[in-house]
């Protein structure tokens, strides 16, 4: 009896398995329903860039009822780790990428990204040069999402109330740190725990020192592993000088993005060093009104003896999207990618949501309702006499990136000498 019961259960299970298999085969054969998998580095789907991405996805599904888009979103660190795992077992159809050697070199070499047709994008109004980071050997592998600018956000009301002035030189900035500290306020909130914001700061200082030679100095150092250039040494010393002058909060080298940002948005810090993508702070209702309405920016002040002027700014085209080479629905994936980049999608929605500047011409979407913070960033970019390009940490392979982002904590807090730092990051390039 028992045997019969077991046999019956087994037979039922087998029938169910077979019918399930037949069902999925039938679905694939119909070819109507398409499921696109989007792998994103924007886990917050209700604010900023994540919201913009989700809005476009929802619209696309509405316009194409046969398409279902499944989103998997992780924060940057976890995203990059899982991206690698996916590259071994099959990448989702549309993915976030970074158009910088530290990320893209190995990814393109491994052949996990599909080649895109540059002809498709002639009318997409991409800012000149913005596709360069996504192009390898003349082939296009992805599209940039933003124009990122290194900003020093500051609380204007706090500055006015205390009579502090926007620093014109680096020495002024360090002197300002002393004045702000004297009021028991943190001068500048820095996410030093992650390493990369400090590497951007280092790039910012280096650009102010080297001006138009920035790219040559960095690429020469990264390609030879020789970081003994005077400017690299001076830039590192200036970063350390900032930490020594208590410009950053106590324990900056172990605090993460959220903690640093909270210090600024809770008025515990007068300034916050971050990219222009945080311009949406001005519209974020979780931040008290008197703070969010008073957020302004200035860019890194000039350095005595440096070659760059006040209007030479540190800016680059970083994040973007690409299509997986192994995607089974590649055509649909490219169609969706192109849809996202139609000028009235990412650029327009991004602008309306105060996300900062896209890599496309946004001028048609000005509404006169922009926040002052948004306009300041636009002015900084429009008035820029030159831009730096990729920050130093993203100019080498990922082994270099890992090394500089870790050792920069040690050199800034004084537990490693400047010379040791430069030779350690040089060794990581070899």
């Amino acid at each position: 009896m028992k045997r019969k019961a077991v046999s019956a259960v087994m037979a039922a299970a087998m029938v169910m398995t077979m019918t399930a298999g037949a069902g999925s085969m039938a679905l694939a054969e119909e070819g109507e329903k398409v499921t696109l998998k989007v792998f994103s580095n924007l886990p917050d789907r209700k604010n900023g860039q994540g919201l913009v991405e989700q809005m476009i996805i929802d619209e696309y599904m509405k316009e194409n009822e046969n398409v279902t888009i499944e989103v998997e979103a992780l924060d940057e660190e976890a995203y990059k780790t899982k991206f690698k795992a996916y590259s071994m077992e099959g990448m989702p159809d549309v993915v976030s990428i970074w158009g910088q050697p530290a990320f893209l070199d190995e990814v393109v070499d491994a052949g996990v990204l599909a080649e895109l047709n540059p002809e498709d994008y002639t009318d997409y109004k991409f800012i000149e040069g913005s596709l360069n980071g996504f192009t390898y050997d003349g082939k296009l592998y992805g599209l940039p999402r933003n124009t990122d600018v290194a900003c020093i956000y500051y609380n204007q009301k706090m500055f006015e109330d205390n009579g502090w002035e926007i620093p014109e030189t680096y020495d002024d900035l360090l002197a300002l740190a002393e004045k702000i500290s004297a009021k028991d306020i943190i001068p500048m909130a820095m996410d030093g725990g992650d390493g990369w914001p400090m590497a951007v700061y280092l790039s910012d200082v280096l650009f102010k020192l080297t001006g138009e030679d920035y790219s040559a100095v960095v690429s020469n150092a990264v390609s030879t592993g020789d970081f003994s250039d005077e400017n690299l040494k001076k830039a590192t010393e200036l970063l350390k000088a900032a930490a020594d002058a208590k410009l950053f909060q106590n324990g900056y080298d172990s605090q993460d993005y959220g903690t640093a940002m909270n210090l600024f948005t809770n008025a515990q810090a007068a300034m916050f060093y971050m990219g222009s993508w945080e311009a949406s702070m001005a519209l974020n209702e979780d931040i008290p009104e008197e703070i969010r309405k008073n957020i302004r920016i200035f860019t890194m002040p000039v350095i005595d003896g440096g070659k760059a002027s006040a209007t030479d700014i540190t800016a680059w085209n970083g994040g973007g999207y690409a299509v997986s080479a192994a995607s089974k629905v590649k055509e649909e994936a490219v169609r969706f990618l192109n849809y996202m980049y139609q000028p009235d999608k990412l650029s327009k929605y991004g602008w309306e949501n105060g996300v900062g500047m896209s890599a496309q011409d946004q001028s048609p979407y000005m509404t006169d309702n922009e926040t002052e913070l948004q306009m300041q960033i636009v002015e900084a970019v429009n008035n820029a006499t030159s831009v730096s390009g990729t920050p130093i940490n993203d100019c080498g392979l990922s082994a270099f990136k890992t090394s500089i982002e870790s050792e920069i904590q040690s050199v800034s807090n004084g537990s490693m000498s400047v010379d040791d730092f430069l030779s350690a990051i040089g060794a990581a390039c070899k």
């Binding site: 690698k84 190995e106 725990g193 080298d253 990922s398 990136k401 890992t402 904590q409």
Partner: protein, 302 residues
Amino acid sequence: MYSNKFVIFSLVLPGLLLFLFAILTPICLSIYYGFTDYTGMGTWKMVGWENYRKLMHDEAFWMSLRNSLFLAIGFICIQHPLALIVAAVLDKIKGRGENFFRCIYFIPNVISVAVIAYLWKFIYNPDFGLLNNIIKAFGGKGDINWFSAEYAIWSVLVVLIWHGFGWGMLIYYTGIKNIDPVLYEAASIDGADQKTMFLKITLPLMKPVIQVNVTMAVISALKQMETVYLLTNGGPGNRTQFAANYLYQQAFKAFKYGYGNAISVVFVIICLVTTVVLNGIFAERDERKQKRGKRGTAVYEG
């Protein structure tokens, strides 16, 4: 039924397959990839012992091993003596108090590691953290950076020792509960005080438990990863780096999958050698004691 070879084979097979595919195959693959320059994507080529040569000169790796050693010492010298004493005291309290404190001490173990890490991040925060506020309340300056290059490793060790305390205590507590109460009664009739009973009855009878606990503590110190990853991610610099976290960083962040595998091979060897050495030390002591015991009996008999 158990004499039927087919039955024995079918019972052993699942375990054997699990061992083969979940443990042995990954280890073999790790050994293989340890000799390659694989980035984790695309193709790779054999580089011989290059990864191992680099590893021998990698300061961050040696610092991570040093930190593991510190943690193991911390576990053995601080966490376990305390856990054993607390377990013994709990056993004596009896009644409701016993259950209450047992739960209290075990709470950190039932909280997710992520929560623990963030909790301590806030406790240690130099600007608004609990610890500095307590110092301020007692008139201190309260501006200590607990994750500075100087203090970071000690701050991390405190969290790890605190977090693992409950497990150690629970195992000791179970061991103590298994000791026959008649022994304590007899000792008490003979006039032994609490201290003597602990030293002469509890400690000697707990030896097998201590051995297991110490071995587990040393291995867990070597394997430490998640709390450190969430608390400091090895920083500042590599001051709080631990071997498992470092190999993760190298394999998955620096795209040096081959090198990461070389680290994992050395890491597995270190774990195995440590276990064998610890077992050897404990076994030798047992043997010596047994021999001494036999000699003593022989003399007595003689």
